[in-house]
């Protein structure tokens, strides 16, 4: 049965990720946008401000600087065999790996 209003079942996240996030006090995995992090109250904490305001700024600035986003470079650029898009896609992934593995654990733990 196809429903167009939200998802019937919560995201089944990897147990490894769930264990790691529990250590940072993130225990609700039901919604697509974590309710333990992305709330109006959290916006006025250092952690929330970095994740929402600074993160959003990086997304906008970086996308325009790179001349495209996941759709334009990774999907459409690679589909039409454009090597500058491959460079951009590798850079997107590198930035993400650095943030998720090296910087974000510090932000979630210490702030």
């Amino acid at each position: 049965m196809v429903s167009f209003s939200g998802n019937a079942e919560p995201v089944r996240i990897s147990p490894k990720l769930a264990t790691e996030l529990s250590g940072y006090g993130i225990t609700h995995f039901e919604s697509l946008v974590p309710v333990d992090l992305f709330t109006w109250q959290n916006l006025f904490t250092a952690k929330g401000f970095i994740m929402m305001a600074v993160g959003g700024f990086f997304v906008g600035f970086g996308t325009r600087y790179a001349g495209g986003c996941t759709s334009g470079h990774a999907i459409m650029g690679l589909s039409s065999f454009q090597w500058p898009s491959l460079v951009a896609t590798i850079s997107f992934m590198t930035g993400g790996f650095i943030m998720a593995n090296l910087i974000l654990p510090f932000i979630l733990k210490s702030l």
């Binding site: 993160g55 906008g60 600035f61 454009q82 500058p84």
Partner: protein, 177 residues
């Protein structure tokens, strides 16, 4: 096609090939292959339909899930790689079909895919975007869909992203490209 139209089309093709303005336009994230035809505003409603469908797919595929993005960058799940990978394959087939059968737009215009030029921005900007992607769990499209799921605070993330694009325009001349 009439001779007049063929000439017009040829000129348009040359314009797309030789236009030196592309780099600036692509940096401005302005469309580089827009239609020359002028239509009343409500012709744009078809993009609303396509966008709404895209939004539904982003939610259904869990692409806008912050958790899925974390899994991707920690190599803990195949989910996102499978989605992006299959999207690239579908894209390749679409581009191949369009070129092979010379498929036109719904208004009969040819589909042109201009070549992208390398700039250092793809590296520096790409890295900055990657950092933001892992923080917010969203790239530009999903920001809108995240708001749509009821997470109203993401409006702040979206406004920050828009201010980022604005600041880029302000300091562009001082950045390496």
């Amino acid at each position: 096609m009439e001779i007049k139209e063929i000439i017009k089309e040829h000129k348009h093709h040359q314009f797309l090939q030789e236009n030196k303005d592309f780099e600036v336009r692509s940096l401005d994230t302005m469309c580089v292959n827009e239609s020359e035809l002028k239509h009343p505003w409500w012709y744009n409603l078809k993009y609303l339909a396509a966008g709404a469908l895209f939004g539904i797919i982003l939610v259904k595929a869990e692409v806008i899930s912050w958790f899925r993005i974390q899994e991707m960058f920690r190599l803990q799940s195949f989910h996102m790689f499978g989605i992006i990978g299959s999207a690239v394959i579908v894209g390749m087939l679409s581009v191949w079909f369009i070129k092979k059968f010379n498929i036109k737009t719904i208004y009969g215009e040819p589909v042109e895919i201009p070549k992208k030029k390398f700039s250092k921005g793809q590296i520096y900007g790409g890295l900055i975007f990657g950092l933001g992607w892992a923080l917010t769990g969203a790239c530009p499209g999903p920001l809108f869909a995240q708001i749509g799921t009821g997470a109203s605070v993401i409006i702040v993330t979206l406004l920050s992203a828009i201010s980022g694009t604005w600041l880029y325009g302000l300091v562009r001349d001082k950045l390496p490209h």
